[in-house]
Symmetry: C2
Subunit: 416 residues, 2 copies
Amino acid sequence: MPHIDPERLLSDLRDLRSIGAQGKGVVRPAFSPKDMEARGWLKGRYEEAGLDATIDGVGNVIGRSRNPGKALLVGSHSDTQPTGGWLDGALGVIYGLEVVRALAADDATCHLAVDAVSFQDEESRFMGCLGSRSLTGTLSQEMEQRAVDHRGVTLAEALREAGLAGVPRQRLAPGRYAGFVEAHIEQGPDLEDSGRKIGVVSSIVGLRGIRFAFRGQQNHAGTTMMARRRDAASALYELAHRINQEFPQAAGERTVWTMGRLRIEPNAPSIVPGYAELDLQFRDASEAPLDAFEKIVARLVADMNARGGVSIEAVPSRTPIPPTRMDAGLQEHIARAAERHAPGRWQHMPSGAFHDAGYVSASLPSAMLFIPSIGGISHDFAEDSRDEDIVLGCQVLADAVASILAAANAAPGRNP
Amino acid sequence: MPHIDPERLLSDLRDLRSIGAQGKGVVRPAFSPKDMEARGWLKGRYEEAGLDATIDGVGNVIGRSRNPGKALLVGSHSDTQPTGGWLDGALGVIYGLEVVRALAADDATCHLAVDAVSFQDEESRFMGCLGSRSLTGTLSQEMEQRAVDHRGVTLAEALREAGLAGVPRQRLAPGRYAGFVEAHIEQGPDLEDSGRKIGVVSSIVGLRGIRFAFRGQQNHAGTTMMARRRDAASALYELAHRINQEFPQAAGERTVWTMGRLRIEPNAPSIVPGYAELDLQFRDASEAPLDAFEKIVARLVADMNARGGVSIEAVPSRTPIPPTRMDAGLQEHIARAAERHAPGRWQHMPSGAFHDAGYVSASLPSAMLFIPSIGGISHDFAEDSRDEDIVLGCQVLADAVASILAAANAAPGRNP
């Protein structure tokens, strides 16, 4: 079995952190100079590890093994949130690099083909999981033309500025891969709370979004009597509160919903708001509670619209993401490696956050491995994990990768 | 009895409208070049009408009668909202000018002393009713130093730019006045709805404000289970909705409340909000419902805080404005004039909006006269009133002013 090098692993993670570091956090949004610098650095590291490395036309860094046989794709993303933590994405990327090196250094595994990858723009500067969509062929020209960041920069402009205009884009080589494995920090508190060290991800939760528009009548807050008002904000308060009261009855144990973004117009203390907008987002690993929520929403909206006054319109705010099951065979390899290195201290669990593996799973058998996040914090400068957890997770991944590839190449033509 | 000149009145109103006109509306915020141009124009009109006119050090335009005896101050404000209507303030200002001219042209009233005024910044660019506060001596240096507009311009800078730095400020001459009368558009729909032409204002409603701060914990909307959340926005929705459910039980017929301004952080669909803020404003012509509302708020906040999770803090968001009664004697003069010109088509009514008369009433017997607003619309480019209603209101005001001054000067030393 391969042995990872803890010092080398932590040192590479810290080197990557230094590119765009701000305080304890990292600012390395997709296509920014720091992001492109990190991708250049990573390409060099892939080459030192013996891989044929390229940065493709959307910024994906791909290191291809020269070994024959079925390969495994291992990695995550190296772009960050606008004010991000140092491990979100970066952990899985450096794990991929370290796994390549660990397998190459062991006589029993040096013949196995591991490709390493760092996807571009998982964090949605232009489009969530841009890089994995591109690699798997699900990025349409139309989506690309619509892609604009929150400052109005277009994706085409960002590509040009990053020197990627006209650079070829890679696609998954047909038949090359036995699968994809992505390691990530949990970004939640469950592993830490239960004292467990490894999460074997069973599924990535589905996500739907509804945007409500409330149309009333803007008025003077002193001279418009209550009975005459059509107050868009008061309708918003009522609907949001009733959603919070009714959803628990239809929710599963891990269903979540959030109304975290709104807007009211003109947003002045002395003016009855004439327009308001509210985003509702809800997630679960199965479709049933999501369907039930949509029914509740439709009933509440119909009920309030029947009263007159403010009119409420509910439309999908995004393309729904269906719940995605991770490959059972790959999960089994990770679970066995976890049991070997952390006996009794691992668990199957869904991922509440979305990941590149969600897109890749439509093309390849895919799996994910989580390590604990301190305090469950992520998307924040304070995001962190313990060194020993980082090291343990990488060792589990290396064992799992070796075991997946050994099985895939022992039974050629079959998935592991 | 004096006769106003409808053509001259409407023509002056339209001339004033042309200074800062944008479409159907007017953009003439306090101290802007257009506002100062309008004040210069008005000073000229006051002088043509035989008044000694000045623009004082805060921008109040004051036209002083040369006639002896008790005087009446008549006017309103000529500054507008950032995107205002053409009659809010302007109507009462031009009424004052026309009343001066009408009384001067009539042998029976030409000896009476009417002073005309256009106050500065009633619309709160720096401070609501800045001009009437200054004239009545309730503007402190400290308030003035804190006064900043929403772009960060200080009042001192605006005064300098308007050429008013160092210009003397006028105060009410002690003993000069029998009172103050302000005419205004209603800014609400009551007169129009009831087919009435004149409102005799009985009181200006009191106003209180509470700002709620909700402190929770910002989290990832996918990985933070519902039971662990401390969602500041959900607490806001609940409190706002419960306020809307409970206030009607304590409200009077014309009590109003508004939650028209809020903020949630970070206001993103995928993040559980960690902080939220909500402004509640409530108004009534008597203190009782306002006191009752404060008790309800205190109970709801205590109830929600006792549950833990999100903590709610409630603090006054502004200095309360107590309800102000208009002078009964002055109201009687206006009511008699209204009955003469619009028999059975006038009413006593409270003002839901605040006005300069609210401040002046602390120093002088004060009264207000309303004319109908089409559709109740104001603070909007669409604000308008019918020409015949404008003319009728001015004639009623002229009669009332003549009658007030006749009474005041018939019984010297006593209020009318």
